[in-house]
C-alpha cells in the first residue's frame, strides 16, 4: 500500500533513465562497455593461467585421474602423458591450455565424458534457476526488512531484524541448509531428503512439479542467507538518509513520516541497494555450491565439488572461468546502475 503510487512513478523514472542512458550515453556506454570487455579478457586470461598453474602444482596427476583404477602398460602411460602434456615444461603447458581456450574449447570432462562446455551449459542452467529465484527472493525480503528496520530505528522491530541479520551473517550456509533439511524433510516429511534424484539425471526427465519441489528448500536456504547483508546495508543507508538535510526539510514541510520514507527514503536507497544485490553474485555462487551439496541439487555447485574431489581438471578450470564471468557480469551491472542511472552522476558524465 505504501508502494502503490511510488511504484508507478519511480519505475517510470528508472525506465526513463535507462532510455535516456541509451539515447544520450550510447557513445559513453559503448566506450565504457568496450573498456570493461578488455578488462574481462585480461582478467580471464590471468585467472585461467593462474588456476591452471595452481592445478599443475598440486599433487593431482591428470593421467592417473583420467585412468582411474584401470591398469595400463608403461607405453600407454607414456602416450597418455604426451596427450596431457606431463612431459612438457610448465610454461609450455600454460600456453597450450590458453591456446585451447582461445579456440573455444575447454576440453573434455573426465567424470561426465562429454565436452566441458556441454556439462557447464547443462549444470549452469539448472543452477541458474536456483540462483535467480533465491536472488530475487532475498532482494525483495532483504530490502523490505532493511527499510522497516531503518525506519523504525531503535525500536524492538529494528532490534529483532538486526539480531536476525547479525546471526545469519555468522551462520554457515550449509548448516542452515542442514537444519532446514532436518526440520522440513526428516521431521515434517514435506520434502524429499537429498539424493532422491540421482546426480546424473537430466533435467528433461523430471516433471516441472518434481523440479519445483526440489527447488524450494535450496532456494529458501540460499535466500535466507542472502537477506542478511542486504538488510543491513539497506538499514544503514536509510538511516543515513534520515540524517540528511533533505529528509529534515521534508519533515519541516510537514510531510508524514511514512510519506517521507516512501517518497525520499526508498527513492534514494533503491538504486544503491540494487547495485549491492548485483555485487553479491560472488557470495551467491559460493552459497550455491554449498546448498547444492547439502540438498543434492544437480547443478553447477555439485559439478564443482565432484570435479574437485575426483580431479576432473578440465571441468574445474572451466567452472572457474564461467564463474568469473558470472561474478564479473554482476559487478558490471552494479557499475552501470551506479554510473549511468543516477541522474546526478549521469549529468556529470554528460559534461
Amino acid at each position: 500500500m505504501i508502494f502503490k503510487d511510488f511504484n508507478k512513478e519511480f519505475f517510470i523514472l528508472i525506465f526513463n533513465r535507462f532510455i535516456g542512458l541509451i539515447k544520450i550515453n550510447s557513445k559513453n556506454l559503448a566506450k565504457f562497455l568496450g573498456l570493461k570487455a578488455v578488462r574481462l579478457l585480461i582478467l580471464l586470461i590471468v585467472i585461467a593461467a593462474i588456476s591452471f598453474i595452481m592445478i599443475q602444482l598440486s599433487p593431482i596427476d591428470p593421467v592417473r585421474a583420467y585412468l582411474g583404477q584401470r591398469i595400463v602398460s608403461e607405453e600407454q602411460l607414456a602416450i597418455m602423458g604426451q596427450y596431457w602434456g606431463t612431459n612438457l615444461s610448465l610454461g609450455e603447458r600454460v600456453m597450450g591450455w590458453l591456446q585451447t581456450l582461445a579456440s573455444g574449447s575447454m576440453g573434455f570432462s573426465l567424470i561426465f565424458r562429454v565436452p566441458v562446455t556441454e556439462v557447464i551449459v547443462q549444470k549452469f542452467t539448472a543452477s541458474l534457476t536456483l540462483m535467480v529465484v533465491s536472488w530475487v527472493l532475498s532482494a525483495i525480503v532483504g530490502f523490505g526488512l532493511g527499510v522497516l528496520a531503518g525506519a523504525k530505528e531503535g525500536t524492538w522491530i529494528d532490534k529483532a531484524i538486526k539480531t536476525y541479520s547479525y546471526i545469519l551473517q555468522s551462520s554457515p550456509t550449509f548448516w542452515i541448509g542442514l537444519v532446514l533439511l532436518m526440520l522440513f524433510s526428516v521431521y515434517l516429511g514435506w520434502f524429499p531428503i537429498g539424493l532422491s534424484v540421482p546426480i546424473g539425471q537430466l533435467s528433461d526427465t523430471v516433471t516441472f512439479w518434481q523440479w519445483l519441489y526440489r527447488l524450494i528448500l535450496p532456494a529458501v536456504t540460499l535466500s535466507i542467507v542472502g537477506i542478511a547483508s542486504l538488510t543491513m546495508y539497506t538499514r544503514d543507508k536509510l538511516i543515513s538518509v534520515k540524517k540528511s538535510d533533505y529528509f529534515l526539510f521534508a519533515q519541516a514541510r510537514g510531510e508524514s513520516f511514512w510519506g517521507i520514507i516512501k517518497n525520499h527514503g526508498i527513492r534514494n536507497i533503491l538504486l544503491p541497494a540494487i547495485s549491492i544485490q548485483f555485487m553479491s553474485f560472488n557470495e551467491l555462487f559460493g552459497g550455491t555450491i554449498l546448498v547444492e551439496q547439502v540438498f543434492a541439487y544437480p547443478g553447477i555447485g555439485q559439478a564443482t565439488v565432484a570435479a574437485g574431489l575426483r580431479s576432473d581438471v578440465p571441468l574445474l578450470l572451466g567452472i572457474v572461468i564461467i564463474s568469473t564471468i558470472f561474478v564479473f557480469c554482476g559487478n558490471l551491472i552494479a557499475d552501470i546502475i551506479y554510473k549511468y542511472v543516477d541522474p546526478r552522476l549521469r549529468g556529470e558524465e554528460d559534461e
Binding site: 519541516a252 514541510r253 510537514g254 527513492r267
Partner: protein
Amino acid sequence: MGKLLEVNNLSISFTQYVQGLQRHYLKVISDLTLDIGESEIVAVLGSSGSGKSLLAHSILGILPYNSHVTGEIKFKGETLTQETKEKIRGREICLIPQSVNFLDPLMKVSQQAVGECKDDEERKEKQIRQREVFSKYGLDESVDDLYPFELSGGMARKVLLSTALLNDPDLLIADEPTPGLDVKSVEETIQDIRNLKENGKGVLLITHEIDVALKTADRIAIFYSGYVIEINKVENFVNSKNLLHPYSRALVDALPKNGFKLTKGVQPLEEVPGCPYYENCPIRLDKCQNNKPELIKHGDAMIRCFNFDEDIPADSEAVVSEESDVIVSEDLVSEELVSEESDVIVSEDLVSEELVSEESEDVVVEEILEVEEVNDES
C-alpha cells in the same frame, strides 16, 4: 499586537560519545528567549556553526533523538507540543533552508514543491498553486522538470523560497538564506524577505552575516556561546554606542565601515559557571565569574549583563558604580535619541567616549565573524 511566536527559556543539549565511548553532554542553546510579531523580521545573529539552526529545528520539532529540550515555544499564544508542531509545520510555519542540499537529489523540483498529497485532486490543486508561485519568482516551466543538482545558485534560492511559500504560512524561518551567494543574489534575497514582511508575515532570520541581518531585520538577537546576550532594534546597530552588551558593540565595531576593529579571543566551548563573555569582557564585575546573568528587559531591548541589573546597589564597587552611571546616562540619551537625534548624539558620544577609552586599554579584540565552533551538525 499579539505575538506570532514566543520562545521562552529554551535550552537544547545533546548527549554525545567521543573516543573511547566516554559520554559527553553538549549544551548548544541556553536559556533562549525571543519573540516575533506579525510583519516583523527578527534576526538571530551568531557565528557559523554555533548551533543557532537548532532553534529553527526546535520550533519545527525536528531535533534529533539525542537532544534534550527545556523551555517553551508559543505560536499565536498557544504552547507548542511535538504534536502541534507536526500539525502546523509546513502549513503555518515554513522553513526556507540554506541550500539545495535540502532538496531530494533524485526528485524533480516541482514534485518536491508540491510535496505529499492525499489524492489526485489535492495534487492538481497544489500543482496549479506551485506553478503560480514559481512564476511569481520568475521560474518558468522548464524549471519544473529539473533536478536539484541542475539548478543554478539563484534559481535554487528561488525554488527554496517558493517551496516555503506554497502553503501561505504566517511565519517563515530562513536558516542561513545567503551562504556563498554573489552580491546581487544576496540583495535579491534580502528584498524577497522584506517583501514577505510587507505581506504581513513574520520572519525568523538565522544568519551569521551581520550585513544581511542589518539590512533585513527589524530587531536583532545576538547569539553568543549558546546564549542570547542582547536583543535590540536594528536602528541601534548603526552605532555601537547605542548597544548595550560589550560583545554587541565589539561586533558592530568590527564592521568595515566602523574601522574594522577586531576583538581578540574566542567564544568558550565549554559551559562556564559565570557569564560566557567574562573572559573577554571589558566591564566585567566580580560576580560575573561565577554567576550567570539573566536576560532582562531594558527599555525596548533585552540584555544579559549584570551591569544592567537594577538590583545592584549603586555603591557596591567603585568601578561598577562608575560604569553603571555611564550606562544609565547613555540609556537616557538613547531614549531621547528617538525623538531628537542630532543634538543628543554629541552628548552621547562624549559619554561613550569615556567608556570606550576606558575599554580600549584592555581591548579584548575578538574574531567574531567566523569563529570555528561547536558544530551543530552533531
